[in-house]
Symmetry: C2
Subunit: 121 residues, 2 copies
Amino acid sequence: MLDQQRVDQVFHALGDANRRSMLERLSRGPASVSQLAEPMSLTLAAVVQHLQVLEQSGIIRTEKVGRVRTCSLAPQGLRLAERWINERMNLWERRLDRLGDLLAEDTQSEPQPKKHERKKP
Amino acid sequence: MLDQQRVDQVFHALGDANRRSMLERLSRGPASVSQLAEPMSLTLAAVVQHLQVLEQSGIIRTEKVGRVRTCSLAPQGLRLAERWINERMNLWERRLDRLGDLLAEDTQSEPQPKKHERKKP
DNA sequence: CTGTTGGTCAAGCATGGACTTAAGTATAGG
DNA sequence: CCTATACTTAAGTCCATGCTTGACCAACAG
């Protein structure tokens, strides 16, 4: 649970639409900083700042060769987010299943409706 | 592609550690507002504000009965985020596969890499 | 009724984050 | 060497967001 820090960074990074749009571009292949900047209505400097956030969170990886920095996706960063989400959903759905089972058992002895329904007072 | 708005809301909502911690709590079962607030070092009002963000993004669902509002996870919200992530990762990994195939073909005929590669000075 | 609990609303503050401009560095090309 | 390219860094602006306080309201207990 020490990667809570990382999870935090990753989700924070994903929380920005511009950064996500850069990620969409990168998911179709590596790109240089200025290639990434071109379709955006942002300064190059701003793009660089976003890239720093993305790299620090581990979502992308960059390498500078000559004077051009090439960025590419590092799926293990995204996988962290995916795992977090899956864990929450699994927990929740398993809970629903167990609950369903209990209700099913009850209906054998008591004349209750099958699903989880509430009455209005 | 009109749910870009929704995707934005969901990721923004997930971008906050306090909100995620509430989601962790909720993934183990529904809870009232004050139950959610209790383990956090936040005012009740602040918690309520976070809950509004979470509900508007579709990640949770809340229902008020009497004077207590009960919150529960709505997995379809999280599923939206999961899908976005999966799509990016799939695209990227498929690309890597195709690239691997190309390289494999090339190594049969030519011992040189095809594309623009530079040496480090 | 009164008091308490559980939650809501409305300002307001204060910090952080996104962006910009501007100046600087290093590399490629002629 | 000179210039253009491809970033990089620093500094400052500005707005969104997170949080607090304080007043308020509705439901239930006694």
